[in-house]
Structure formats: structure tokens, C-alpha cells
Symmetry: D2
């Protein structure tokens, strides 16, 4: 977590003012219930709420720090400062509780608050992905597997699948939020020996938490591990989107581009450049978020009823991972919202290779017309290779000069070179006539490949 | 995954025989639906089911391998062997599908099968934890935070919290199983250009899967990442239990011990040893399972409509993580089932320090009797320290000789030294009489600390 | 580690035959020294060497396994089988030693042997990189930062930097090999209470190891962690090379291509495809190797004089990481050796944008001719943008139609459009004449950018 | 990196004032060389050094920030502010260089400076470990494997092995420091097209760096990965030491204890506690440092001549890992320096089990007196078990009541119960007399086990 990659709303969650506020609420609610249970004198809670229910200003925080310097204990410092505001009744605050009751429940609240912000971030991102998906639903683009042209897809399908993936992540985060939102007020080793379980239940309810069914001195750390695993998954999906954009912005591809504000400089040395720096940055931030997963998993195994090894880790990865992911999701949403797309470049690339992307379509057509799979494959492959050759590429003789025969030269005058070659292939024409080929394939290529986009969109967005 | 840490039922899932069986089912179900959709001639599916629905014997697998050596393509080799069994109708099998449709759906089925086994493992473990929790519900044991004696807990509470943690893991695995159980039969780039989406829906239903709402050439890898994250969490919780047992078996603690079969040798060099080797082993296996999390997260970001970088990783971590975890969960369940506990040692340890574990109980009692928090703390602390001194331990002067005064020497004749000292402390007796102290604290210490065990058990097991 | 990604020479290192052979040598050398120290009777060692110095055949291994089933102790089983071959003298073997003395020293030997193989792999890879670097030393190619065209480099520079990086990795591996090659024969807790340190020193010398200066029951695990960290670094550098090739093979780039054997099939569904599957596979294998780093680091902290948690981890990652990396390095070397390069495509890409890659060269030239940095930047940038516009790209108005003025249209007839525009820019011509611009820039662009390739090659290969 | 776990000397390295200072030096040294090479006018460098060689005060930094807000480029902002101080000559600064030349070389300098501090930290730690090793060289303590009593070691041996391990880490860090200390001033894609390699060589020399033999736009990231791997190893070794201390401080063990300042509070709820919070904290900090390893390895593979994904990661893990480790090493050194040890407790624990730790010594003695290994083992084991029984522990019947026979009861009056039982075992006495046993074992147990401590210390410290 560094200022460069932080947003205030999220860093505030991890600030002392918010932390002490949560501590106060935990203590005050606990006191209310204790009073009801006749563990503390009647009227105590009212005094504490009346006099203590105030903002934690910088001055108050400074006072707590001052006391902590002396007593070397954060919760005691907090309670002492509170008693300075509240008076004698403060001595009943925290009764029968242990520091971890306050600290651990507070961490749960902070992680819940952080999750709420992240869910808002994801909603913005999901909205952007959906909008762009709809805008580009039928914007045709060559699909690529292995970085190699395969068959046509649409830009809308790309956005739609990122939407579906992030939607799953959203559900995972909703679950993780629910899992982390527990309250433990169970005393030094979790036995409730000195505090009534009903206090825990009451505080939980007031704070929007569930009571932790069984705690030790602390809340079990598998809950936190799960939370960080989900952040790691979101980060990885974010990287997935970022890498797609980086690829599309490559000079040779240039099918999409991050938005550049007028006047924005690219490279200092190379004034002509438009670099995908936002998505490159997001690729790095994904690594940074993901690195919290392993220590969070290592934190699960604690000695007996707790050791404190997890604490220093969480002091770091708690803010780090949530602040960085919040910033990154915001950046990603902005990038998607403003992403510039180049449909003509998409079409040009797709049409660069004489219809070779329809090779499988022909293959299928042949097998459906009584040509065996093996023969069909051979026929289609040899003609696909001739298409390549007509573009000066001989994959079977990559080092040698490309020597075209007359048909290959002639093909250069045709747009759909695949069909041109096929129509001259006797292996094929022995099975069916050129007219049949024409008739059967008269559906235009684009609508052939996009005919189920609608079905898919229904599945994703309906 | 190595034989030493493997069980057959799980390794079978990853064997060729199972893999080819799943491939056959996917292809055959797809064919059934294609026939219904009039994409292939009537009667085709029946022939394929009748002639092809057979076990994949070692002979058949060898034949597939032989063909693969030649054609260098696993799915084609599989289809060719199938056609040798089925005859001409086989040419309609796989029509309009892409290899990944079969491979990726198969992986989903295998991971689903593996999850089912792991769920069975967890059920056995949960049952063991529950049984042992009930057996030891009131077996008192000193609770420890930071490895230091704190206040009493019960052995049953330890088992109960492991139960609750594993139960949460079980739910996570149920979710991960559901997430991974999807079917994609959508063609080379996921557009269904060459195959009807209803084929996918039908196969999904037949195989106990959901249709993947939107795929590319492959099923999105966030689903797999989630699965391995959950395995990592289960492993970490397993480590949590293992570490507890290892601690309890330490020579100086010896409150529990892994079961040793009569005649089983411990150390070769040191015949007197009884080592917690099972739980040490489980600690290592936890690391081995967990190491699949990071590569699974790295697998999420693929280039465009797929690159194949994820594949080699999954060929390894798929079997490795599931086989190892299956073995480990079995070992852990066995260890819990047979774990030997030493209640007398537990009591002895708890009573080793003159009742000092009741320090907080007294603290609370004082504050409830109008002594301020600060005074209470001081009173209790100074008497606790005297208890330690009476045992020859002077924490405030650790290097020096322990010089006891007369009272401290006298205390050595008392069991509850804390109360002995307190009753002689004028700071306390100015606030209340010794009789009050006695009366109020006449509840015996053990029942004081265990009074809410029942409530907790209800929460966990009800 | 799976057969698909394994080579026999490396898997053999981890086979029982090799392991038992190493055990025998450790025991026999130790015996030789013990005899010299008069700890065992004269003549004992000769008998053991004479009768025991034989290959571990499958029959012998089966016998050892049989015994182990009974005694449940691997070293005892080994010693028993040995005594069946050697006779009564065998009882002096292993005297005063502990199992870990044999097991841990053996692991060191295996890791040393594995390192030796990996070093051989790296030598092949380094040789390939060097050869290809020299072949393509001056093969010009556009350099890319952020995936965007920057300034020219040469293909040779790419190979050269991979060479330099792998050379550093080689040195790291040499160090790691030396670090892991230690021998511990120090007894149950490392005190040499029951065995003379000179035995350790002698065995170390005979086996090509150093004596471990201080061990506990085991050799300290930071040595192993270091080894796996180095494997992780090699894997990451391998990924670095793989990603470069995958990028160069993209359809739109096609500046290089993995070698395809005549007749080799690409995609089953799309017969026209040539996919970079080897380097994609290597990208995945890099993740698989790298995943051993974290558990190896987690293995360092052991309880007291040892716990056995590290052992199961090492049984897996020892073979897995070395076998996979050995296979991957071989695959990478083969890929480099046969990589097909397309120099014409490289030139075409570089020249696709009217000399805009010389923008910085002009910038520098202007500042050296008394134009301020800010003015120079503005001049160059505005003309660079016009170059883009003349290619139909208007980065400042990406959504709108590209409206070219007359000069921009005229530019389309020029190869070096950057200079064409600059020569018409009054902001520039007020500082210097077009002739000056011409004179000063008459060095051809390619030799300008490649003039220090020689210096760099000297640094790398000299 | 959070203030709680930070030390100023290290955080200063990562502050803007230090960063800009390094940038200035790189630029000014480069200029000096350029002037010598006649690339810039004579006298330029003197002006820049004279006027620019000043501290980067908060005011200057604020001014740079202000400019950066406007131009959105950190290096340009820096250069602009510099020109405000230096005047017209500033326009020659940075000529032919690229931002990364400055940024990447600066990062190398910062990582070198951080390594220097860490080396100082390690020296303090090594000194502490050595001092404590010497103090406790012959302080006998039971050695433990698997957490179970094995044979005696000394406290000094523990410190000595931590010393040896940290010494290896120190060497690794020296290497990593040397590897990271390189200088790249090679222009936009590393070809030196616009800058003379001699500039790089000169700047390197002046800054205590080596010239990077071959760079792209950036210094290759395997160097950084190596650095973070080494930090991860140091962290893991730190955890190794921390875990040892935590174990020794357990209530039941209490052989060592972290120093507590008089008046320092332990638990708020449990006033009697002395928790090993420093070493628990170090255990967590080890995880936090280690988490930088994976992203550093992921940073190695960059696209073509660079992508900027590594940058955000390094902005975080650079400061985070070094600051945290610096703090942690300081804390660890302090903990070792003041660690309180309890030699009497050590002796008591060792002697708690009637000499059973000499079991192997007897075993060895028997085999050396013509008893077969198998018989020896049986004899020793059965008597060791009787020792346990005499302490009320029956490992073979853990659930049942321990029923002692007369000899076992009698043994309770003997200190060395193992010898007591052995002397009554006819299996033994048929091979040798009790007097022989006595004579041969009259060397006292402690000096038997510690006789090679000297040899080991010589190896480690000589």
C-alpha cells in the first residue's frame, strides 16, 4: 500500500479514527448488554454512550498514543482515554473481556467494510463491462488461440466473458464478506468463563456481524485466509482483462487502446508512443494483491489457543491488499469505460488471410456430406496451406523461398482464397459440385460465426 | 503425488481408463443430442452407444497410445480407436466440436469426482472430531496463548473448534465443486458456430454438470483457481490440527500422543522414542498441497481466447494436490480417531502453578466489588508474581537467585497459592473480607471455567 | 513430475537403484574410516566392499522393500539386505550413525547430481543462444517497450541478453550445487557423541562433498531452500524467453516461429494453425518449477534439533522441480536451436510507420543544435503525430474520422515520412536548414541504431 | 512496511530526498563524461555540479511534485526543477538518456544501500550469536527431535548453528548486493544508439556499480528476483531461530525467556503471563518478508524490450521487504543479546527420565561387544520402556493403568534408572558383566555427549 496506488475511502477504513470508533462501539454495546444482564450497575451504559459517543479526533488519538507510550498496551490506552471522557462509570467497560475480543472483532468489521467498498468497485466494473459488451456485441474480431488467428468472435463476447468471470468473483467476495463478519467476545481462551455469551450475541447483532460459534483467544484464521484467497482471485481475473487489452494495443494489433487525455505525454524519449501503461500497471498490481495469499494461508496454523504470529502479517496485508485492489479495480473500471476500440482494424486483421478462418466450417460441411473425417481434414489442410502460400508464407518450408504456382498467383486476385482453392480441388469436387459448395456456404461468414452471440448474451446477462 | 502418499481410489480418477471413459461419455451424449437435432443421421447414436460403451482396458489404452505416437494428437487417437470399435458411424462423433470441449469438460468431471472423494474424507474427519469432542467435552486442560499457560479449556473444545473449522472448509469445497462442475461444448473459440448450444446443455445435464455460460476455447480458469485455493485452505486447517497434536505430544507436555501399534519402532538410534511422525508428516503435506495455489492463480490470465500455458500446470497440480490431500485427510482422520489422551497429565500441568490461572477471575471479582481496574490489576499481579516466586521462578529477576520470604515459603504447603497470598494482601482486604473472597469464589475453579462448554457445543454441533 | 515432462537421465537420479547405491557408498566409506580409527575390526571394510559393491538390481530392491514391509524402517531394511549379501561383518556397518546421516547426505548427493545434469542442460542452451545470437547479430528488428514500437534493435541482441541472463543463472546454480553438496555424519543430534568427526570428513572427501560444519539430526534446510530458489529463478528466465518467442509468433507479428516438423498437425479443428505450443508449454512448466520455492522456504524452520515436516515436501519437490526443469531446459534449447526467424517481416514491421522510430534521434539532434529540450520535444511530437495520421491513425481523436490535410496526403508517397514532415515544419527550420537536417542525418537509420551492437557482444561473449 | 515495524535509517533510503539525490548524481556524472567525450560543451558539467550539488530539501521536493502534477512525468519534473537551480546548462543534462536509465540505476543504488544496512544488521546478529554461543558452549540441554527428548546437546551448539546459517545468508546477501549493483545508461531499448557506452561505464565507476553488460530499456529482472529470494531465505532462517526461542519459552519448557523490562506488562487479562511476543512477531514478519519472493520471480518475464508491470510491484516490495527485514533483524539481535537462559531447568529436564537419553550409547556399546545389532536393539528398548514405566508412563498400554512390578518400583529410588534396569537384564549380562558395563560406561554422560563441542566450534568460528 503506497499513496500512489491508494484511495482515501479505503485507507480511511484502516486509519486510527475508524479503528477506535469500532472499538468504542464494541465496548459500548457490550456494556449495554452487561447492564441488561445485571453484571454492571444500572445506568452505566447510558453514561458511557452519552459521554463517549464522539468522533475520534486527531487530538483524542494523540492522547491515546501518549498513554500507550507509557502503559505499552493499546487497548488499555484506549480505555484510559475513554475513562477521561466518561468518568467513573468507565471502569465497567471491557469487564470480563480480553483485548483480542475487541481487536479481532474490529478487524472483522474493517474487513467487512473493505469488502463493501470492493463490492461497490466491482459493481462499477461490472456495469462498465456490460455496457461495453452491449455496445460491441456484434463488433467482429478474429478470435485467437495461442496468439494465432482462429475463428471470428466479437468484441462483445470478450467483455461478456470478463463480466461473467467478475460476477463469479463478486459472489465469492459476498461469501468471504459474510465469513469474515463474525464477532468474538469470549474471553482469554474462548470459554466465556468471565463473560456471558449473550453479550457476544448482542454486540454481533448491533454491529451487523454473526457470533463466532467457537473461538479461542482469537477468531479462527481460516476465515481471513479465505478472504485473501478471494482477493487473489479477483486480482488474477483483473490481470486476465489487463493482458487482453495490452495485447489488443500492441502496435501490430491495435484493435483497442487505452484512452489518452489530450496533451498526455507518452514516452519522454519517444514522443510517438501510446503505451498501455494502465493495464501494465494493473498486471503488476495483480501480483502485489496476490502475494498476500500465501502468508494468509500460513497464518491459519496457530499454537494452541493462539499465538500472535498472524498479527504482524495482518497489520500489513489487511490494508495493503484491500487498498491496492480498491485502487486497481477503480483504474480497471475507468480503463474499460473509456477504452477506444478500432473495429476497422479488427475487420482488416480478420480478412488478412483469405477466409482461412472458415477452414473448420468447410471441414464440418464436408463430413456432413459423406466425406470421411480423415479425407476432409486432408482436403481442407492442403488448401489452407495454399492460402498461406499465396500470402508469401510457406509453413512447410519456412526457410526457403516461397515459390508459387500459377493458381496460387491467381488466388491473389481473390478475397476468399480458401474457397477459390477448394473449388479447384478435385479431391473435393469428386464429392460435391462447386455449386453445392456455393449454395451451402452462401450464408455469409460473419453471420455464420456470430449466430449464437445472442444465446450467449442471454446466458450471461439475463 | 508419489505412491507413498497416495490412495488408489483417488489416483484412479486421474488414470487413462477413467479419462477415456469420460471422453466417451461426453462424445456419446453429444451425439445423442446431435441426432435429436438432425445434425447426424438417425440411428447413429445407438450404434455408438451399443458398440462403444465398454471399459477402457489396458489393451484399448495401449492401442490409443500407439495411434497417438503416429498422429501426435490425443483426441484424434482416441476417436480413431473408437472408430475401430464402432465402425463407420464413428465419423459423426465429435462433429463441430473442438478438442478442448472434450478435454476441459473432462477435467471438470475429474475435479468434481476428486471433490466428491475429498468430501467423503472430510466427513470421516468431521465424524472423528465430533466423536472425540464429545468424549472429551469436559476433560480439562490448561489453555495456552503464546505457548504460555493462560486459563483452563477442555480437550473437547479443541476438537470442537477443529470440527467447526473443517465444517467451514467442507462448505467451501461444496461450493468449489459446484463451480468446477461445468460443461463447455462451444467450439474452437466458444461461439457455438459449429455446434448447437443445446448439445452442451444436454451433455451437461447427463454428466451432472452445468453448462458453462460463456467459454472461449476453454472454460475460464478462475473456476480452477478457486478450487485449488480451497484445497490450500483445507491443507492449512489440517496443519493447524497437526501442530496442536505435535505440541501436545512434546516430551514435556505429553497430554496427547499419536497411537503406536504394539511393536512399532520409533527411532532406529533411540529406542525409547515415540515421535509424532504422522502429524509432522501432515505438516509437510500441507505445504505440498498449498503450493498449488499460486500457479493456479497464475493460470487465470490467458492470452485472448486461450493459450495453453495452464495445461502443463494442471496436468501436475490436478492429480498432485487432490491425491496428496486425500491421503493426508485419511491420515489425519485416523490420527484423530486413535489419538491417545492423558487427562491426568493435563490436570497436573494445570495445577502446577498454584491456581494462578484464576488470576483474571479474581481481577474481575475485584472490579465487581468496587475496586478500580488499575488497583485490581496491581493487586492481582503482585500476588501472581509471588506465586511464581514460591515455585522458584522470579520473572522480575530472572538471572538472580530466588530469595523467598517467609510467606512465600509457607505458601509451598498450599495448593491454591494464589488465594493464599491474596488473603494476606491488605490492599485486597481493605476492600473485602477473606470470607467474602471465599464465599464468592467458592465455585470450584474447574466448573467456573467450563460452565459454558455446553453453550459452545450447542453452537457447533446443534 | 509426470512422464510426459521427464527425461530418463534425471528420473534415474531419483530411482531406488541410485539412492541405495549412494547409501551403500556412504556406509562403506564410513566403515573404511572407522576401521582406520580402530572402531571396527581390521578387515571389515574390505569384506563389505568386496561383497557389497554391486549394482542394486530390481531383485535386490524388491528384497529391501519386502524387509521394509516387515520392519517399517527404510534404513534398517537396507542394512538387513546388505547383511544378507555381506555376512557377519555387516553388523559393523552404520555403527554410531543415525538414519538421517545416510538419508540427508544421500539427498545432498542426489541434488548435486541433479545440478550437474541441469548445468549440462544450461550449457546446451547457452551454446544455442550464442550461436543464434551470432547468426542474427545484425538482423534488425523493431524494439518494443510496452508492446509498442520503440527503436530498432537486432535479433542478435535478444539472444545475447537471454544468454547473459542464463549465464548468471548458471553461476547461481554452480553456487547452489556447492552449497548443497555437504555431508553430515554426526549422529542423532549432531554432537558426534557416537561417531568420530573424521568419519564425516573422510566420507565427504570420497563422495565429492564438504563436511557440514554443524548439523543437528539433519543438514540445515537453508541450503535446500537456496537450491530451489535458484531453480525458480532459472524457470522465470526460461519463461522470459518463452514469452518473447510467443509474442514473435503471434499471427500479426510472425517474426519468428517454432520449428514444425513436416507433417506435424497443428489444431485438430483448425488445420491452418501453427501454434507456439512449445513455448506456451514452457511458460506453464516455469510456474510448475517455481511453485517449489515457497514450500522450500517454509521448510527452513524446524523444531529444535529437527522435525520431519520437511521430508514429505522434499520427497515431492526434489524430483518434481529438477525433472521438470531438466525437461524444460532441453525443450527450450531445442526450440532455440531450430527457431525459424523471418528477417523480412522484421524489416517490414520496422518500416511500417514512416521512420517514426527515429523520433528520438531527431530530438537529440535538435537539442544538440541549440533548440531547448521543451521545444525539441514539441516539434518532434507534432510531426510524429502527423506521421501516424498519414497512416490513418489519429491518436488524439481516436473515435473520429481521420481527416488528412494535403501535406499528410502527400506524405503517403514518401518512405521516410517523419523527415518529410520535419522538413516542412517552420518551428524546426527556423533553427536549422533542411540541408543541415539531411547532412546530419545522412547516416542511415539502421547503422545508427546498430553501431554499438559490437560493443555489447564483446561485453556478453568476450 | 508500516511505521510500527520500521527504522529510520532504512526508510530514509526509500524517501524522495535520497532518490532525487541519486538521480542527480547519475545525471551529473553522466554529464561529466559526456563533456569529456565532447558531446556537450566544455564547462557544462562544472556549472551543473556547482549549482546543483545540493540537498533535496522538503521545499525542493515539493517543487518537483508541483511540476509533476502538471507534466505527469517524474523524470521531466526532476529535470525541470534542476534547470531552475542550474540555468541554461541544464538542457544538456539527460541527453540521449531515457527515463529508465535514471530510474533503474537508482533502484540498483537503493537496493545496494539497503543491502549494506542489512549486512550491518546481520553483523550485529552474528556477533550476538557468537557471544551467546561462547557463553553457553557447555551449557547442557536435552536435544530434541520431533519435539521429543533425544540426546544431550548444549545451548552453545544451538547458537552456533544459527550463527553458521546466518553466516551463509550473509554471503548470499553479499552476492545479491553485488548482482544488483549495476548501472544501465543505454537508451530507450538498450542499444546505446543515442548515448556512448563509456558514459555508462564512467557513471558506474563513480557510483560504485558495475556496468550492466546488456540491458533493454531496463536492467534484467533476474537480478532483482535473486535479491528478494535472498531476503526470503534470511527471513526463513530468522523464523528458524524465533521458533526455537518460542519453544524454549513454553511454560512447560522454560529453558529460555525473552528479556522483560521491569514493569513491562504481559497480558491485560492475565497478569501472570510472560509471552514470547518478540519471537512470535518475528515469525509473522518472516512471512511478510517472504511474500515478496513470488512476485519478484513473476517480474522476470517482461514483454520484448520491457513492459512496466514490474514497476508497481517493486515500488511496494522494495521498501516493504527491506524495511521489514531491517527492523526484524534488529529485533532478533536484541532478543538474542538479552535472552535469559535457565541452565538448571535444562538439566532438570534432561535428568527427568532416568538416563534414558543414553540409550543409544548403550546400544553402541553392546554392538561393540559382540552383541548383534538386532539383539542390542531389543535389549536396550525393553529396558528403556521399563524406565518409562517407572515414571508412570506405559507407551505400550497408554490407555490402561500403569502396573509396575517390584523392580520398576525399586527403580524409583535410582537416578540412573536405565543402568539400573540394564544391570538386571539377563539378556545383557549373558554377554558382559555388570562391572564391565560400569567400567565401560564410567565416563560421565555429560562429557560423553559434549566431547566434540570443541571440534564443532572450531569448524564454525575458526
Amino acid at each position: 500500500m503506497i499513496p500512489r496506488y491508494s484511495r482515501k475511502e479505503m485507507t480511511d477504513i484502516w486509519e486510527p479514527a475508524n479503528k477506535f470508533r469500532i472499538w468504542f462501539e464494541i465496548e459500548a454495546h457490550a456494556l449495554t448488554k452487561m447492564e441488561e444482564l445485571n453484571v454492571v450497575p444500572e445506568g452505566t451504559a447510558k453514561v458511557v454512550w452519552d459521554k463517549g459517543n464522539k468522533e475520534y479526533t486527531p487530538e483524542r488519538i494523540a492522547r491515546i498514543d501518549e498513554i500507550e507510550m507509557e502503559v505499552k498496551h493499546d487497548v488499555i490506552a484506549f480505555l484510559t482515554e475513554l475513562s477521561e471522557n466518561v468518568g467513573a462509570e468507565a471502569r465497567f467497560v471491557h469487564q470480563g473481556m480480553t483485548s483480542s475480543d475487541v481487536l479481532d472483532t474490529c478487524l472483522g468489521v474493517q474487513m467487512m467494510q473493505a469488502a463493501d467498498l470492493l463490492l461497490k468497485d466491482m459493481d462499477r466494473l461490472l456495469a462498465a463491462l456490460k455496457t461495453r459488451a452491449e455496445e460491441t456485441k456484434y463488433m467482429v474480431c478474429i478470435g485467437r488461440s495461442h496468439g494465432i488467428h482462429a475463428e471470428p468472435v466479437t468484441m462483445g463476447l470478450k467483455f461478456a466473458r470478463f463480466y461473467a468471470e467478475m460476477k463469479r468473483n463478486r459472489e465469492r467476495l459476498v461469501n468471504a464478506r459474510e465469513e469474515i463478519a463474525t464477532c468474538a467476545i469470549s474471553g482469554a481462551v474462548g470459554t466465556f468463563a468471565n463473560v456471558d455469551p449473550r453479550v457476544e450475541e448482542y454486540v454481533a447483532e448491533q454491529m451487523g456481524l454473526s457470533p463466532e460459534p467457537i473461538s479461542t483467544q482469537v477468531i479462527p484464521r481460516d476465515r481471513h485466509a479465505n478472504y485473501f484467497c478471494v482477493l487473489g482471485m479477483i486480482a488474477s481475473s483483473m490481470e486476465n482483462i489487463a493482458i487482453e487489452i495490452r495485447h489488443m494495443q500492441r502496435t501490430e494489433v491495435r484493435e483497442a487502446q487505452e484512452y489518452f487525455a489530450p496533451g498526455q505525454k507518452g514516452s519522454s524519449a519517444m514522443p510517438h508512443k501510446r503505451n498501455p501503461i494502465l493495464t501494465e500497471n494493473l498486471t503488476g498490481l495483480a501480483r502485489a494483491v496476490r502475494m498476500s495469499v500465501t502468508p494468509a494461508l500460513e497464518n491459519v496454523a496457530l499454537w494452541h489457543e493462539r499465538d500472535i504470529s498472524h498479527s504482524s502479517v495482518e497489520r500489513m496485508i489487511g490494508p495493503d491488499a484491500t487498498v491496492t485492489l480498491d485502487f486497481a479495480l477503480g483504474r480497471l473500471a475507468g480503463t474499460i469505460e473509456k477504452l477506444v476500440v478500432y473495429p476497422q482494424n479488427m475487420l482488416d486483421h480478420m480478412n488478412n488471410f483469405g477466409g482461412v478462418h472458415d477452414a473448420q466450417r468447410v471441414l464440418l460441411f464436408l463430413t456432413q456430406n459423406n466425406v470421411s473425417r480423415e479425407d476432409s481434414y486432408r482436403i481442407v489442410q492442403r488448401n489452407a496451406m495454399r492460402v498461406w502460400k499465396s500470402y508469401g508464407i510457406d509453413p512447410d518450408n519456412p526457410d526457403g523461398e516461397v515459390v508459387m504456382d500459377e493458381t496460387e498467383k491467381e488466388a491473389q486476385n481473390h478475397d476468399n482464397r480458401l474457397f477459390f482453392f477448394l473449388s479447384k480441388d478435385e479431391g473435393l469436387t469428386e464429392h460435391l459440385t462447386v455449386d453445392q459448395l456455393k449454395t451451402l456456404l452462401d450464408e455469409d461468414s460473419i453471420s455464420y460465426h456470430t449466430k449464437r452471440v445472442d444465446v450467449i448474451f442471454d446466458r450471461v446477462f439475463a
